[in-house]
């Protein structure tokens, strides 16, 4: 019996197409390894490794049995800091993308569904955001004094504020790609018969948007979402590197490079590791996005 007679669900079909995309599959493996690497910090802590334990007699130690990747400028173990820093970078990447994604989703669906003047205003706004030089804007947002916004002094200077601030400011500026995509997909779908039938049978805009439009725009969003995660991780690293993101002593891959310009001459390895990890993570995320695109888009033949 030939195999074609077996019915294949669309989901499985996509999975098969994804598996044929070698770069996508290998980047999935790389990402899994990176997440495992970041999470193994919890195990390492059990064995007495502490990302904050300084030892000023052991600054810039070369790799040894005690410190597998050596120590940094304060004598802290580089390996465990890379792991904890990875948790920060990945967490910020995912959370900021999620929040920005929801913003983009709402703006995109509303603009596409209601059309007319609302669409014009929202899309001009989106175009305006796209036109901005994002990094200077992010730096200004990162420098904003939280006490002037009515937050308490204690909160404004805590580590949690630094963590949430960077997530919120990246989400504020990086929702545009998703908004435009969702708008285009919504416009394409809202005139289809099943949506018109739903409207004719009395469904309100909110119902139609949630139960008919959203499920049908899911695929392009997943791809855009993946690519956004990569970009956000880059933004986080840049902001933390410039001193406007995750605040030391909490490590992130970005702020571990804070004084890398001096490290380049004294301990080059310390300038290489964090950046290399960012690089590998983002490249894997981007290849994953490419693989997903390939899996979801029947037209892309390779």
């Amino acid at each position: 019996m030939s195999r074609t007679e077996v019915a294949v669900s669309p989901g499985r079909l996509r999975w098969r197409r994804f598996l044929r995309h070698r770069a996508g599959v290998s980047s999935l493996a790389v990402l899994a390894a990176l997440i495992l690497f970041a999470l193994s910090a919890f195990v390492m802590r059990r064995f007495g490794f502490d990302p904050d334990a300084t030892d000023l007699f052991a600054r810039f130690d070369p790799p040894s049995r005690l410190h597998w990747l050596g120590t940094d400028e304060a004598g802290r173990d580089e390996l465990i800091r890379l792991m904890v820093g990875g948790q920060m970078s990945l967490l910020v990447g995912l959370l900021a993308t999620c929040i920005g994604g929801v913003v983009g989703l709402i703006i995109g669906v509303c603009a596409g569904y209601f059309g007319g003047r609302l669409d014009a205003v929202l899309m001009r706004f989106t175009d305006g955001m796209i036109a901005l030089p994002l990094l200077p804007l992010l730096i200004v947002l990162g420098a904003v004094d939280l006490t002037k916004l009515g937050f308490s002094r204690e909160f404004a200077h805590s580590g949690a504020a630094g963590f949430w601030r960077i997530i919120v400011i990246i989400a504020i500026v990086d929702w545009t790609a998703i908004a435009r995509l969702v708008r285009a997909a919504t416009i394409a779908i809202k005139e289809r018969d099943f949506v018109r039938a739903a409207r004719a049978s009395g469904a309100g805009p909110a119902y139609v948007m949630v139960s008919h439009v959203l499920p049908n725009v899911a695929t392009p969003i997943i791809v855009a979402f993946t690519l956004t995660v990569g970009r956000v991780i880059l933004f986080e690293s840049v902001l933390s590197f410039l001193g406007f993101g995750i605040v030391p002593p909490t490590p992130s891959w970005g702020n571990m490079l804070n004084n890398a310009q001096e490290l380049v001459t004294s301990a080059p390895a310390l300038a290489i590791y964090p950046g290399l990890l960012i690089f590998v993570t983002v490249i894997a995320v981007n290849f994953l996005g490419d693989g997903l695109q390939h899996a979801f888009d029947p037209r892309s033949e390779r």
Binding site: P133, L135, P136, I139, V238, L257, Q261, V264, V285, D290
Partner: protein
Amino acid sequence: MTRFILRRILQTLLVLLVMSFVIYSLIGLMPGDPIDIMVASNPNIAPEVAATLRKLYGLDQPLILRYWRWLSAALSGDLGYSRTHSQPVLTILLPALWQTCKLLISSFTISVILSFALGIAAARKPGGWIDGLISLGAFAGISVPVFWLALMMILVFAVELHWFPASGIANVGDGSFRDQFVHLVMPVTTLALATTGGFTRFVRASMIEVLRLDLVRTARAKGASETRVVLIHAFRNALIPVVTVMALSFGVLFNGALLTETMFAQPGMGKMIYDAILGNDFNLALSGLLFATLVTLLSNLAADLAYGWLDPRIALQ
């Protein structure tokens, strides 16, 4: 056509106006105000004096009023005084803008040429080994943290090999063309490497799309050589979306410029804005950000106009 251009210019001005207000408010939210800084450098100033000074300079007035006063002054050409440089903002801004333009234009030109060559080469046989190699390079380009790439360039070419200087725009007492050129090599290369990746992917995608069209088949059927088909028939059509994307990516390019300038200590717009924000130099930061926005908006406008000019099928309305 004229109406379209006028409308787009009006829109651009409107966006600029809105952005100036947003940036003005954000700068106001940065820690401290000018009087605080004055007090910090001279703690003997009595609180009453500080309050009087605030009143004198209008810092106690509501945001919208202060913005209005700033805007009317700015429109008459007065962008204020830079605190850290003790000079009018414009005298600092213009040389920095020129420095950034040098960096942006040279790296933009290099990456456009590179990406055209690489993108076309990759699109000839999608899925082949040349395409695979170029795509890998392109992905690396869009994924690399620019500041880290700059670090690695410094590590390899300045610290290890001593080929190029790691920072500055000229040696003291030299400043010849050769000297300036040598100082520009690393920043330009870094920025070009980082931008070529994205551009290459656009050129490749656009070329693949066009090479599938009937016009290419027709050209081949007429007996045009493969070079002619690819470079004349296909490439011209692929150019339309590519030009738009490239002009639109100016904002991204500016992000890269900010980082390369900071890393290589080049006194351009990006480093100026960064230092101004760090040093609480409100006037300079505000004007710098607005100029950056203006330049980006203008490049978008240019992209829109070029789009209509390249593709007569698009009715501009």
